[in-house]
Symmetry: C2
Subunit: 197 residues, 2 copies
């Protein structure tokens, strides 16, 4: 696959797709809509991406990489642990701010198998890293001594499951809200000293 990242038309196409996907989800947006909005001809589009899902994959990968980079940066900084946690939570919030319910649904729900795979693989990877950071924090006394590292990993997995739990989801008006709640619950729940809300 060629690398089009410097290509102007490519960048414009990706930008349009991001706007539309974030607003309406993936299913409700057609390739032709992306093309006419950009504007770019359909032929050029297919030069860049095999199909709509591959484009969504590209965007999602971009998002996850950015998230990971920001997370690593926060964790590597020299600041109190609770401050880091707050920043990580804010990061989460920021990333999902302009994301529609529909977009998240399209990723978690149905037909886009590759996207689900991408997200779940990434989750595993990042969870391992987060767990590592948490264990290190525990050694430094920032996380309660009583918690087993395996339990932290378990909790992270569990959050992933809870996000797609319909019963729990129905208690919240949006997935973002639920994700925030779970993120808060996780980080504050394991911390040594509860910070002020």
């Amino acid at each position: 696959m060629e690398n089009f990242k410097e290509n102007k038309k490519f960048q414009e196409t990706v930008a349009t797709a991001k706007t539309l996907f974030w607003k309406h989800g993936i299913k409700r947006v057609s390739i032709e809509e992306i093309c006419s909005e950009t504007p770019v001809s359909k032929m050029t589009f297919y030069k860049f991406f095999k199909n709509k899902e591959v484009l969504a994959e590209y965007l999602l990968r971009e998002l996850l990489d950015k998230w990971h980079e920001a997370y690593t940066k926060i964790m590597s900084q020299d600041m109190p642990f609770p401050t880091k946690i707050k920043k990580v939570i804010a990061l989460e919030q920021e990333a999902s701010a302009d994301m529609s319910e529909e977009f998240i649904k399209d990723i978690y729900n149905n037909e886009f198998v590759e996207l689900q795979k991408l997200v779940s693989e990434d989750r595993n990877r990042y969870h391992a890293e987060i767990a590592k950071d948490m264990i290190a924090a525990q050694k430094r006394g920032e996380i309660r001594k009583g918690i087993k590292p395996e339990f932290i990993l378990y909790l992270l997995e569990d959050i992933g499951n809870k996000v797609v739990d319909d019963k729990l989801s129905s208690l919240y008006s949006s997935k973002q809200e639920l994700i925030m709640e779970l993120t808060n619950y996780f980080f504050y729940g394991i911390m040594n000293n509860q910070p002020d809300a």
Copy 2:
């Protein structure tokens, strides 16, 4: 046409449609989606509505009637004119709060001719009424003496045009924002004593 307003399935169908239309606009929502979400069979749907646009018409008429009722109520109350204006503006805001950009686009833009007709007819009707109220307010000294009644009507028409002006729209991140700005501009612009923001 039969009157189904007491029918439970009818009410459920209308409720689902409202949720979906308000979120995604009209074009992006299919009849089948409304049916499976409600849930109601397609046959029953077509018993209620000839097609999607007729359903949207029903919802829009409901909305416009409610708006009008609330407006009349505010205007008939005994309170200072600036307070009324504020309430009317708040009403406008409230009505469009959970409405997506997409829904407004679908009404103003393109293919749904009947909806546009409905809105423009209503606009004329309500404009006449608003103008009447404004002229009465002017008689009571609540609106600047210098303003001609015809100018008020002209302004109201003008607002309708500005809403669909792409050049102006591009200055705002959403149609709602633009509509609010214009509504504010109109009401505050003609008032006798500028109320505190």
